[in-house]
């Protein structure tokens, strides 16, 4: 039976403060295939019951298990150990985000920022009895942003977030883009104040770490640049979109 060696970064909020991080090593046997998430479950069930990590769908659609695995942002459920190199699999929580315990990050700010950009469709005109028509071309513009699973990889990878804790970050701005670019949205200038400022879109310096980190291969940077242009078009030229 093959075995995988896991090096898991630990953090216990109740333990006394120590210098340096603690890494625990575990050996996980498996039959033919093992994902990192399955490995973590094996550790939690058989080796160390106190290990904490997030899990839900195990099919890369819920965004719970985003982690820093062998120095790369990955979803633990989607990462098969046979695709990882090196003699041990190093599993760490997403860096630059406060921790709750072990691999569980504190996502409070992340979701507060998401809430701050008013993430919902705004309408003024009378709602029709049937659907609001949308052309295939307009719907296509949504393809990229609606696939976001809010895992937080982009947010954790963004140096602008590291530098300024109140920067909205790529995920929230991608969500703002998702609504601003939607042909059905009639927010006009109401959503603008939430991101048209220097802890919003202008803090993005197109570093593109987010693009690289995204496990869904989305492009928040491009979305933010679009928002900058759209803001100018709206404020100076009075365009609706």
């Amino acid at each position: 039976m093959p075995e995988a060696r896991f090096r898991v970064k630990r953090y216990d909020p109740e333990a006394p403060v120590m210098i340096g991080a603690r890494y625990d090593e575990f050996t996980v046997p498996y039959e033919s295939s093992l994902t990192v998430l399955e490995g973590l479950f094996y550790i939690q069930e058989h080796l160390d019951g106190s290990l904490a990590f997030r899990y839900c769908c195990r099919a890369a659609v819920c965004g719970s298990c985003a982690m820093y695995i062998n120095g790369t942002y990955r979803l633990a459920c989607q990462t098969n150990v046979r695709h990882l190199h090196g003699d041990a699999i190093t599993v760490e929580p997403m860096p630059h985000i406060p921790l709750v315990k072990d691999l569980v990050s504190d996502m409070t700010d992340f979701f507060a920022k998401y809430e701050a950009i008013k993430p919902y469709l705004m309408r003024n005109s009378k709602t029709p009895d049937a659907e609001i028509p949308q052309s295939e071309a307009d719907r296509k513009k949504l393809d990229m942003p609606i696939d976001c699973i809010m895992c937080g990889c982009c947010y954790s990878s963004c140096p602008s977030v590291w530098g300024e804790g109140s920067y909205l970050g790529p995920a929230a701005l991608l969500k703002a883009y998702r609504f601003e670019v939607d042909s059905r949205d009639e927010a006009g200038k109401t959503r603008l104040p939430s991101f048209d400022n220097e802890r919003g879109i202008y803090r993005c310096h197109t570093i593109t770490n987010c693009v690289e980190a995204c496990p869904k291969e989305l492009n928040p940077t491009e979305a933010i640049q679009w928002l900058k242009g759209a803001t100018v078009r709206r404020r100076l030229l009075g365009r609706a979109k």
Partner: protein, 568 residues
């Protein structure tokens, strides 16, 4: 003690929809969820949601009555027809409402919501957003809940209900982020915790779909209905059981056996791959049992190659990603190896059309409830529909119930007692830490037993062995040992506590299955291969008893359609 007039347990589509509806009615409502609501298992739904919008060129004369007929026929006539009529009628406005709230459905050229054919449906009436419909609907609902200002307690694990003098008065929950158990007082509780997929070892469901919500209701005396009807999805990925949507067949995918035959022509010559799920799963299982699995092994192929790269990338991008990442197979180049996998619990908490149960102040909606609109077999695209239709109805009914209450009496004593009971139970589990049973060994044995003894095909002898094992596991789980009792994000505690509930629900499934001596929908017995409308056209109700479930029967609401033979 935290107080809200209405508590919704579970932040999936049904829970969110209920909360939004109650909030609209002016009730102070809070959602308690084990995960951030946008991570709920509703988001894993892929194929679509049914509504007779008649947008598809081939469905111009589609009506809600035809949708109702397909649903009832699909249910093998066990669905309550009044509830089905309500759901299919509500489907049209509620899908438009989802669209108005921003749900990014795919579109036809004329700008209307796109629809695709789905299993067991007479017309293409499944509205979809690529192959991520659940994800899109869930995120739309989350956004709506944020807009409505619904209070959310995210990452709280609900451990039990508070019942005071026969009325549901709140819940006790564990704060995963800060640690510790807290009582939530409320005038009413809506349970929307999803299905019990994880009682099976081969489930497509999320790891949090344990059925623990059902178990909490069950333990307080609310009966669970039709538990034995467990849907097996025909196409789960071979190694992980991850769902490959029915939409893949809706778009024209083939099911092939080792000989390269489209074997569905033997079982459903008209509908072919788009037969209902129970029939398709049985066909696949039969092929496998008779040795025509690929290479004689236990799987068949879902072949999409003839659809072409462009169609796959446009209509089924999510499926392709999943197949590549989890099975190492690119559907554009190769057929996907698939097996029938546990997918959905048709059964659940016995509710009426408004989500109300026998326990005053306690409502349920979504997969954890059984209205019943799915009867013995659910049609694809009806589960997302059920969550929003009955979520809304439960939310409205619970809000009306709360507002009609004349006095709001104090239940803090009952709350304290409930917390004490939870803590006592944890202590008891902790006492077994050293010499107790390993809860994870029990869990594994349960999921294996359910998978092997209560699968696609069932018979008395196999089930009796399985039931005995389940009884033995129930005894062992009482002695389970808990190693970690305190601290934040204590997975050991959550998973051990929920295991007890899972076993009770699994036992209900097992007992109900052995008891029902006929084949109907997803419940297919080789020793009783025929449907028996004389004796079994009725629902099973399971009542909790410490020694094992007590089963009762309840009539089915007929009226619109007379039961007839079911062929596709």
């Amino acid at each position: 003690m935290i107080y809200h007039e209405l508590i919704v347990v579970g932040g999936g589509l049904a829970g969110l929809r209920a909360a939004v509806e109650a909030k609209k009615a002016g009730v102070d409502v809070a959602i308690i969820s084990q995960v951030w609501p946008g991570r709920s298992h509703s988001g894993a739904a892929q194929g679509g949601v049914n509504a007779a919008l008649a947008n598809h060129p081939e469905s111009a004369d589609d009506t809600w009555e035809k949708h109702a007929f397909d649903t009832v026929k699909g249910s093998d006539y066990l669905a309550d027809q009044d509830a089905v009529a309500q759901m299919t009628k509500d489907a049209i406005p509620i899908i438009y409402e989802m669209e108005h709230w921003g749900c990014p459905f795919s579109r036809f050229e004329d700008g209307r919501i796109a629809q695709r054919p789905f299993g067991g449906a007479g017309y293409p009436r499944t509205c979809y957003g690529a192959d991520k419909t659940g994800h899109y609907m869930l995120h739309t609902m989350v956004e709506k809940a944020y807009e409505a200002g619904v209070a959310m307690y995210v990452e709280w694990f609900v451990g039990r209900l508070i019942v005071d003098e026969g009325v549901c008065r709140g819940v006790v929950a564990y704060d995963m982020i800060s640690g510790g158990w807290t009582a939530f007082g409320a005038e009413a509780v809506i349970m929307a915790t999803g299905g019990a997929g994880r009682t099976y070892g081969n489930s497509t469901n999320a790891i949090i779909s344990t059925g623990f919500g059902m178990a909490m209701a069950y333990h307080t005396g609310v009966p669970l209905k039709d538990l034995e009807f467990v849907q097996f999805h025909p196409t789960g990925l071979l190694t992980t059981n991850i769902l490959m949507t029915e939409g893949a067949r809706g778009e024209g995918g083939y099911l092939l056996n080792d000989l390269g035959e489209r074997f569905m022509e033997r079982y459903a010559p008209k509908a072919m791959e788009l037969a209902p799920r129970d029939i398709t799963s049985r066909s696949i299982q039969t092929e496998i049992t008779e040795g025509r699995g690929i290479g004689g092994k236990g799987y068949v192929h879902l072949d999409l190659r003839h659809l072409g790269a462009q169609k796959i990338q446009e209509k089924l991008p999510g499926i392709r990603d999943l197949a590549i990442h989890f099975e190492g197979v690119d559907p554009i180049e190769e057929p996907i190896p698939i097996v029938p996998s546990q997918h959905y619990s048709m059964g659940g908490i016995d509710t009426d059309m408004d989500g109300a149960t026998v326990l005053p102040g306690f409502f349920a909606a979504g997969e954890c409830a059984c209205v019943s609109v799915h009867g013995a077999n659910r049609l694809g695209g009806n589960s997302l529909l059920e969550t929003v239709v009955f979520g809304r109805r439960a939310g409205a009914a619970a809000a009306a119930y709360v507002k009609a209450l004349e006095e709001k009496f104090d239940s803090s004593t009952a709350a304290r007692r409930a917390i004490a009971e939870v803590e006592e139970r944890i202590d008891r589990l902790a006492d077994n830490a050293v010499d107790g049973e390993d809860p994870y060994a029990i869990r594994l044995e349960m999921t294996t037993t359910m998978k092997e003894h209560f699968g696609v095909f069932r018979d008395a002898a196999t089930m009796r062995v399985g039931l005995d094992t389940m009884y033995e596991l129930k005894e062992r789980v009482a002695r389970a040992g808990l190693r970690c009792t305190v601290g934040v994000f204590n997975l050991d505690m959550i998973r051990t506590v929920e295991l007890e509930g899972m076993i009770d629900v699994a036992l209900g499934i097992a007992a109900g299955a052995l008891n029902r001596t006929e084949s109907r929908g997803s419940h297919s017995r080789t020793d009783h291969p025929d449907r028996d409308d004389t004796n079994w056209l009725k629902h099973t109700l399971a009542f909790y008893q410490p020694e094992g479930p007590r089963l009762e029967m309840k009539p089915v609401a007929l009226g619109m359609f007379e039961p007839q033979e079911r062929t596709y």
